[in-house]
């Protein structure tokens, strides 16, 4: 926080307002508890968690910078930062989360028509409607534009047939934002951005069991699914631009996720854990990891300060996804090694809950260099967009 920001009287009056509202509305039982992910995993909230989500949703502060007319907070970026500071001060976590907030909402506000915004933004703001992402297909992973799920014009609706994969949380989702093929003669220019109600007849979801034992991803099948024409977002065959814009929001979000890994996350510091299991940092590897984590945290801070002064993101952000995901995996591998045989438990007796969680997180973390654009795709993007290197001919 800059000195100028500290002294801004309007911001300070907003700070007082936010502090007073939080004091009245935040249930103290939820201190340091994150309920946004629970909601995403399909668990129905109850008690204080439900109350907190309802209050934040009604106030619009779960999506603080969304426009007020659709139920958002209508705050400036500076006010949103103040709100964040005030929430952090009392250990309040944002109960509104998920792909709707992080990825689809900002894209909808940018590309959706008035009717679509009025219909879909309020559900995102209150956290009551869950969205999933229909992008990847079995034969369209890194080469996403090779996707083949068809949407055929049938007059008043599109008829959708095909298969999506790695649809996170599809088993709990109400809606899917989906990239579909509307023209077979062109690759990128034959793709459209379609919003599909997951309760439509012909939608089938099968969770995929991963090496971590969890099933955060699904296969989603569309068989003769009728999608009303009003659910086309943006121009016909203009979906690739929108789809890429959404990926920018996704990667920015993933980068900041790496940031929490960089700062050590909510969990205990790796050095504290190491002291418990192996005593000291004999080979300097913990220090090395912690130093990389600090370098990453400093880079996030620098990129934010620069973006603020230049009024826009800069090229530094292009490294965030790879740097953050690498750190997260490195930390998990190091933890496993530190715990020795205690880090090799799958379930049951003989292992603490933290040990099991840490081992499962190590396995689950293998996804972070694959989803949202693999590490290799990120390197391609840096090489081509930032460094100006050309495609191989």
């Amino acid at each position: 926080m800059s000195a100028a920001e500290k002294l801004d009287p309007e911001l300070e009056s907003f700070r007082a307002e936010a502090r007073a509202w939080l004091a009245e509305n935040f249930p103290p039982s939820l201190k340091d508890k994150d309920v946004s992910m629970t909601a995403m995993a399909g668990i129905t909230l109850s008690g204080d968690a439900k109350l907190w989500q309802e209050r934040m949703g009604a106030k619009g502060w779960g999506t603080p910078t969304y426009p007020k007319q659709y139920g958002g907070g209508g705050l400036t970026n500076a006010q949103a930062r103040v709100l964040q500071q005030e929430m952090a001060r009392i250990g309040a976590k944002n109960p509104i989360g998920g792909m709707g907030v992080m990825m689809f909402g900002p894209t909808l506000l940018e590309y959706g028509n008035e009717e679509q915004k009025a219909r879909h933004v309020p559900g995102i703001v209150t956290g009551t409607v869950r969205w999933c992402q229909g992008y990847s297909e079995p034969n369209a992973g890194s080469d996403l534009a090779a996707l083949r799920t068809q949407a055929v014009d049938k007059g008043d609706h599109y008829l959708v047939n095909g298969q999506k994969i790695w649809t996170s949380g599809a088993q709990f989702a109400d809606w899917c934002f989906c990239l579909v093929r509307t023209d077979n003669s062109k690759k990128h220019e034959g793709i459209s951005f379609l919003l599909i109600d997951m309760k439509s007849p012909g939608v089938e979801v099968r969770p995929i069991k991963l090496i971590s034992g969890n099933s955060p991803f699904c296969e989603t099948f569309f068989t003769d699914v009728k999608v009303p024409k009003e659910n086309l977002m943006g121009p016909l065959n203009g979906g690739w631009t929108i789809g890429k814009r959404l990926l920018q929001f996704e990667r920015a979000g993933l980068g900041s996720g790496g940031g929490s890994a960089g700062r050590g996350g909510a969990a205990q510091g790796i050095d504290e854990i190491a002291k418990k299991y192996v005593g000291t940092d004999e080979k300097g590897r913990i220090a090395e990891h912690q130093m990389s984590a600090r370098a990453f945290a400093l880079t996030i801070a620098r990129a934010q300060a620069e973006a603020k002064s230049n009024a826009g993101p800069n090229q530094t952000t292009s490294i965030m996804k790879n740097a953050g995901s690498k750190l997260q995996q490195e930390r998990a591998e190091l933890l496993l090694e530190i715990m020795g045989s205690q880090g090799l438990g799958w379930e049951g007796e003989g292992f603490t809950r933290e040990e099991i969680e840490s081992t499962r997180a190590w396995l689950g973390g293998k996804a972070v260099t694959i989803y949202g654009g693999t590490a290799e795709i990120q390197n391609n993007i840096i090489a081509k967009r930032i460094l100006g290197l050309l495609d191989h001919q």
Partner: protein, 377 residues
């Protein structure tokens, strides 16, 4: 790049145009080939002083501009880009000791001269082939009202040309103890001081110093007797952060030169930058450059703010910049292929400077250990 004030931006731009016009790599090459024993060009040093860079960290009351270490870093970064050799860093290192621990008389005597660039100063610390600031055997014995110094210092940066040496010596205790270290201000032409200028791989001005009954008055003591280690460590942190800025500049230039080559060198009918094996290595270097820049700027900013975590941030910066310098200088040679191995190409000059700078004021493993200790691992 950190968010800069207008004054800082102007100074950086001035430095950028000066190094490209007056001190390109060809100037360094010419200095090297001339057999210059000082390891820097006196005319260039005079211009540096005239531009006020020697006074950047010195307060206005002593004739400087008091702009601070981040600003010094901006200038050193530009100098690093073209391998500009000058005793600016060494002088700033020794000046830092005076700023931290000097009394009024010492400051009045030396700071105006240093600010004007009329005196060159150097920091004499290490006695072994590896940086070890608590390993001190050079003896300073109390004799009458003053001290007599006996012993040696190795690989002192700009030690041959320095008018003033800040010398760390042992006044009590054993070789590797932190207690019992005292700092002294010793004139470069002191009687009994033998200076041997070395020919180093990076062609900079380093010297070995031998002290044979060098007598200094009591007023030459900088800071407290026997308790000089903390001042020395704080001084070294300023030198390390400044060196990190120079190294960041060099690595940035190495990367940009290499990237240009990837975009122009044609093999198999296309520019080699289209090969993914090279693209991903370029992306890795870019990523490391960005991460390291954050660390270097954070360390320099922490010094300017006199923050609590200067030592940790400095060790972070020096460790990271060492790793970066190592990687990028090696990749520069490798990606240039045959031409990169020749003396005619700049790759070798950058490679040599990178290794010398890596070893100066602590290797990556030195600073990893120090960081771990500071954080209590």
């Amino acid at each position: 790049m950190a968010v800069l004030t207008e004054e800082q931006s102007m100074l950086r731009d001035a430095a950028k145009s000066w190094v490209s016009e007056k001190s390109p790599v060809t100037a360094f090459r010419k200095m090297r080939d001339s057999g210059n024993e000082d390891g820097f060009d006196k005319a260039a040093w005079k211009e540096i002083a005239e531009m006020g860079w020697t006074g950047i960290i010195i307060p206005e009351e002593f004739g400087g501009s008091g702009l601070g270490y981040l600003t010094l870093g901006l200038v050193l970064e530009e100098m690093g880009r073209t391998l500009t050799a000058a005793p600016l860093l060494s002088t700033a290192a020794a000046t830092s000791a005076l700023l931290i621990a000097g009394n009024d008389a010492q400051k009045k005597e030396w700071l105006p001269k240093l600010a004007e660039g009329k005196a060159i100063a150097a920091l004499a610390v290490d006695e072994k082939s590896h940086h070890a600031p608590s390993h001190m055997t050079l003896e300073a014995k109390k004799t009458g009202g003053g001290y007599t110094l006996n012993g040696k210092k190795l690989f002192v940066q700009d030690g041959g040309a320095a008018d003033l040496l800040v010398v760390a010596a042992r006044t009590a205790g054993k070789a590797d103890e932190k207690n019992g270290i005292t700092l002294f201000l010793v004139p470069g032409n002191a009687s009994g001081l033998k200076r041997t200028k070395l020919k180093s791989v990076d062609s900079r001005g380093v010297a070995n110093l031998e002290f044979h009954n060098v007598e200094v008055p009591g007023s030459a003591v900088l800071g407290a007797v026997d308790n000089g280690f903390d001042v020395l460590d704080a001084t070294l942190d300023r030198a390390r952060a400044a060196l990190a800025a120079e190294m960041l500049g060099a690595a940035t230039q190495e990367f940009e030169t290499t990237l240009d080559y990837l975009k122009t060198r044609v093999q198999f009918g296309q520019v080699i930058g289209t090969f993914q094996a090279l693209q991903h290595r370029a992306a890795k270097m870019f990523t490391d450059l960005e991460l390291t820049r954050s660390c270097v700027e954070a360390a320099l900013t922490a010094i300017d703010r006199n923050a609590n975590d200067i030592p940790a941030l400095v060790s972070l910066a020096k460790a990271k910049v060492n790793e970066l310098a190592h990687l990028v200088s090696n990749e520069m040679v490798q990606m240039h292929g045959g031409i990169g191995m020749t003396d005619a190409h700049d790759s070798g000059l950058y490679l040599k400077r990178a290794r010398a700078a890596e070893a100066t004021y602590g290797s990556a493993s030195f600073h990893r250990d120090r960081y771990a200790r500071l954080m209590g691992y």
